[in-house]
């Protein structure tokens, strides 16, 4: 009984994820198609010959009405064919996959790093808010939380140039990952700290303390188990945040991710490439949100009975 309820819940979440991806991709397609200018506009400025322009437009299918174009793209999508990029002259699917994996690598590592650093520090500073160590952690995370990725990257880059601690070569991952993770780690630390401090005063922890459970076990197991909910709740937002931040980080550190590609595609009015980027980004976001939901269900049994 309980298992079928859970299975139903998972199927519903998956269906919602598919709907999300489709809406984003279709919206991107329609937006680019309806925006002023198309892939031949750039050509128009360089080549005056109307015949050449007309031929290009015909080759790219830009002379077709919106509904035909959209229909063809949807049919292609069903066959996992995302069309040809007009700026790169390559199939969109392979182009986007490479970049998507790069961005996923960057954001994924940043998420792991932020969690591994932010959560334990949050538990620690929440458990003993008056210790000097906790005060240091709180101060540092307040400062770092005020360094969004664009600033963190520039400052780390400067420090790296001064001291040589981090590699600044293009393709080296340490600097962009740290810059992207730092403000998120600080945010997770703040949230977990508040939640841990509340959990430390809860009746169940008090009861465990009365049974003689040692205080480190109280902090790290009893209190933490019930205080993870707020942090897990923000993971969806964190994924969107990491994505947003990755654009600036990728640009500054020359990391070939989805952000740059999307920007180039939009400016070149590369219809299929923009839609492909939107599709790829939406898949990544939907997948991470799904994973966060499932994790939440696994950790917090209260949610399973609630839904």
């Amino acid at each position: 009984m309980a298992r079928s309820v859970l299975a139903g819940l998972i199927v519903r979440r998956c269906a919602a994820a598919v709907v999300f991806v489709m809406i984003v991709a279709c919206a991107a397609f329609l937006l680019v198609r309806l925006a002023p200018g198309d892939a031949a506009t750039d050509l128009q400025l360089r080549v005056a010959d109307p015949a050449v322009i007309a031929a290009t437009r015909a080759r790219l299918g830009l002379d077709q009405p919106l509904t035909t174009q959209f229909g063809r793209w949807l049919v292609g999508l069903a066959h996992f064919d995302l069309g040809q990029s007009s700026t790169f002259g390559r199939p969109v699917a392979s182009l986007v996959t490479d970049r998507l994996l790069n961005t996923a690598q960057l954001a994924g590592l940043a998420l792991v790093l932020a969690t591994l650093v932010g959560l334990p520090l949050g538990v620690m500073s929440g458990a003993r808010p008056d210790s000097w160590l906790a005060k240091c952690v709180t101060t540092v995370s307040l400062v770092i939380a005020a360094c969004p990725p664009i600033i963190a990257t520039l400052i780390l880059l400067w420090v790296a140039l001064l001291t040589g601690w981090l590699s600044v070569r293009a393709g080296s991952l340490a600097l962009p990952v740290i810059a992207l993770a730092a403000p998120v780690a600080a945010m997770l630390e703040r949230i977990q700290s508040q939640s841990s401090a509340e959990a430390a005063h809860s009746t169940s922890v008090l009861a465990a303390a009365a049974r003689g459970v040692p205080s480190s076990r109280l902090t790290w197991i009893h209190a933490t188990r019930q205080s993870l909910r707020p942090v897990l709740g923000v993971y969806g937002v964190v994924v969107a945040t990491l994505f947003s931040g990755s654009i600036a980080v990728e640009t500054i550190t020359d990391w070939p991710g989805l952000g740059r590609l999307t920007l180039e595609a939009v400016q070149g009015r590369d219809l299929f490439l923009v839609s492909g980027c939107a599709l790829a980004g939406a898949v990544l976001i939907a997948a991470s949100n799904l994973a966060a939901d499932l994790l939440r269900l696994a950790i917090d049994p209260r949610l399973r009975s609630a839904t």
């Binding site: 999300f20 809406i23 984003v24 991107a28 937006l31 680019v32 925006a35 002023p36 307040l142 400062v143 939380a145 005020a146 360094c147 969004p148 664009i150 600033i151 520039l154 400052i155 880059l157 400067w158 140039l161 001064l162 600044v168 403000p183 998120v184 600080a186 945010m187 703040r190 949230i191 508040q194 923000v234 969806g236 937002v237 969107a240 945040t241 994505f243 947003s244 931040g245 654009i247 600036a248 640009t251 500054i252 952000g259 999307t262 920007l263 939009v266 400016q267 923009v274 939107a278 980004g281 976001i285 949100n289």
Partner: protein, 325 residues
Amino acid sequence: MIGGRRWTVTAGLILTGTIAIAAVAAPFIAPNAPNVLFEDRSFAPPMRLHIIGDGGLSAPFVYRQVLEDRVGGRFRSDVDTPLTLHWFSGGHLVSVPSGQEPLLILGADAIGRDLFSRVLFGAQRSLAVALAGVAGALLIGALVGGFAGSQGGRTESTLMWFSDFLLALPGAYLVLVLRGLLPLVLSNWEVFLLLASLFALTAWPHAARGVRAIISVERARDYAEAARAIGAGPIRMFLHLLPAARGFLALEVVLLVPALLVAEATVSYLGLGFPTASPSWGTLLQDAASVSALSNAPWVLAPAASLFLVTLGLHLVNPERAPRV
């Protein structure tokens, strides 16, 4: 704990207040016009302020900068010609006697413009566009959230589904894609209005969700019941319930302003925001994009430091809630 909290709030208010005043008073505080090119001052370092001269303590003065090596970009201070600072003269807070050297408090940028003045004028533009965006976001958020909360039922779930959908999308992507789809070359005012509206359109769901949660609780309370009983229509109900969300909306300003300042910085850094002739913190950061500028002239990071200080100040004002990055 309470005492400590008060202290940080005061510090935050002073910090943000100072920067806000500096931005508003930029034409008075800035020693130079933001777009004047000073010859031979490419990446000139910040001038050091001296108060001890030959005859002991004296009025604050700076030394004249002399370009020593054009290729290496090295400057030296000409200790024979101290320039005494003039206060409150010629409509400027501080300046050096006219006809002589430019006063470069934070050094110069790549083509010899006064960075301090540009950061001040940039503060004006960046803060204004962020505040306009926040105002728009709160307006839309209060209307949508208030409407959803006071209506309930299917309206509520549809509107909240839509705002959750927007929240799941990365805001920076959304702004950049929408900005990229519109014509690149626009006048200053068009860029300002466009960025402010794009920010409002991407940020409103944050406000809407909170307002909806507050209003749907308020709706069940006695005063709302009473208002409904004497025949208040949907608009009157909305006006009755909305004041309950005042505190939340005030907090939302503190969270959204830093987020939108970063959005402006990102968009302008990528060349899709304000043109360089009208400085904003984002356009100023473009100078920091080159590795050589960053290592030889780290003062190009001044706009990043300003952005950091505003964000820190606003986070200090509101220590209760975790910052939104």
